[in-house]
């Protein structure tokens, strides 16, 4: 699947939670979209991803 513009190899039907763990990303600092649709935090464990999905993860950095 495509994550932030890069092709990444992950097993089929993994959840967003598993993908985030695999990418070592902190759930508290991110916003996730799949195929241009916003995914709420409550859906991270239930939404399953497959090879065709395009995932964008915004990882906020501090400062303001």
């Amino acid at each position: 699947m495509i994550v932030n513009g890069k092709e990444i190899d992950f097993p089929d039907a993994i959840s967003i939670s598993e993908l985030l763990r695999g990418l070592n990303l902190n759930c508290d600092k991110i916003v996730v979209e799949v195929n241009m649709e916003f995914i709420s935090r409550e859906q991270y464990s239930s939404v399953l991803l497959n090879q065709e999905d395009v995932v964008e993860i915004i990882s906020f950095v501090g400062g303001g």
Binding site: D28, V31, E33, E37, F38, S40, I58, F60, G62, G63
Partner: protein, 268 residues
């Protein structure tokens, strides 16, 4: 034909010029602004032109002041921004700059939200003064804006925003500006707004620390109604501070995005 002189309707003869009106109405005016542009040569007026005459040094009454404040605006902008309601979450380097920029533009309603007080390390990039040290940022910023544009309806809330109170806080706003410092607070706000208010716009920022190139700070349209400003990588951290130039570049990206959204321009 009809024109607008200092925002008031006026019927004039066709072919009349800007300077002819000045000489008749306000002979000592030294600033003549036609449709947002300060003119140095006379112009023949067209129907619906907006002409503003200003005498330098004179303090206008309240009614006239509002018309003069927007004389350099692009015509038509003020009438739209006056109806807009914008919430600003966090009043630090981003939020204080965004609020002042939108106040200068004449955005009708601003909701300013911050729990904290002004302290000395804020002054390297935030729009406060020594005299504000120790005061709530909400109160200090409201005072500053009242000295810039007293026609803005300002509401303040001294609260720490978290997922339990974000929805109630911003339910009456059209556009929300994410202007926090901490990445967790940024993510909390953006996730909550996108979940609870899919029709509202949110303009967030990530990555404006340091003195890296100005040109790496961009505005992107993300999912739904989310716009993201910044270079997305330059975090504030030990060894990499936050300074006025880059923070205010990001804040101005945010403010211009808000202005464009109010005016119906959804593309970046």
């Amino acid at each position: 034909m009809e024109i607008f002189l200092n925002e008031n309707s006026l019927t004039v003869d066709e072919g009349i010029t800007a300077y002819e009106i000045r000489n008749k109405v306000h002979k000592d005016a030294d600033v003549v602004i036609l449709n947002g542009f300060m003119i140095k040569e006379d112009n023949i007026l067209q129907a619906n032109d907006r002409l503003t005459l200003i005498k330098k040094g004179a303090v206008p009454d309240r009614e006239e002041l509002e018309a003069l404040l927007i004389a350099r605006h692009t015509p038509g902008v003020f009438q739209k921004v006056k109806k807009a309601r914008v919430g600003i979450a966090g009043l630090g380097g981003l939020g204080s700059n965004v609020a002042i920029s939108l106040a200068r533009t004449g955005v009708g309603k601003l909701l300013l939200v911050d729990f904290d007080v002004v302290e000395p390390s804020n002054l390297n990039r935030q729009q406060y003064f020594i005299s504000h040290l120790g005061r709530f940022k909400t109160d200090a910023l409201k005072e500053i804006i009242s000295q810039i544009n007293p026609f803005i309806d300002i509401e303040t809330k001294q609260i720490f925003l978290d997922p339990s109170n974000i929805e109630d806080c911003f339910k009456h706003m059209d556009i929300i500006v994410e202007a926090f410092d901490s990445p967790e607070c940024k993510a909390n706000l953006v996730n909550t707004i996108l979940s609870k208010f899919p029709d509202k716009y949110i303009v967030a920022a990530s990555g404006m620390a340091g003195y890296f190139s100005s040109n790496t700070i961009t505005t992107k349209r993300m999912m739904g109604n989310l716009y993201l400003v910044g270079d997305e990588v330059s975090a504030a951290q030990p060894g990499c501070g936050l300074m006025a130039p880059r923070v205010s570049i990001a804040a101005s990206h945010q403010a211009n995005t808000v202005l464009r959204l109010i005016l119906g321009e959804k593309d970046i």
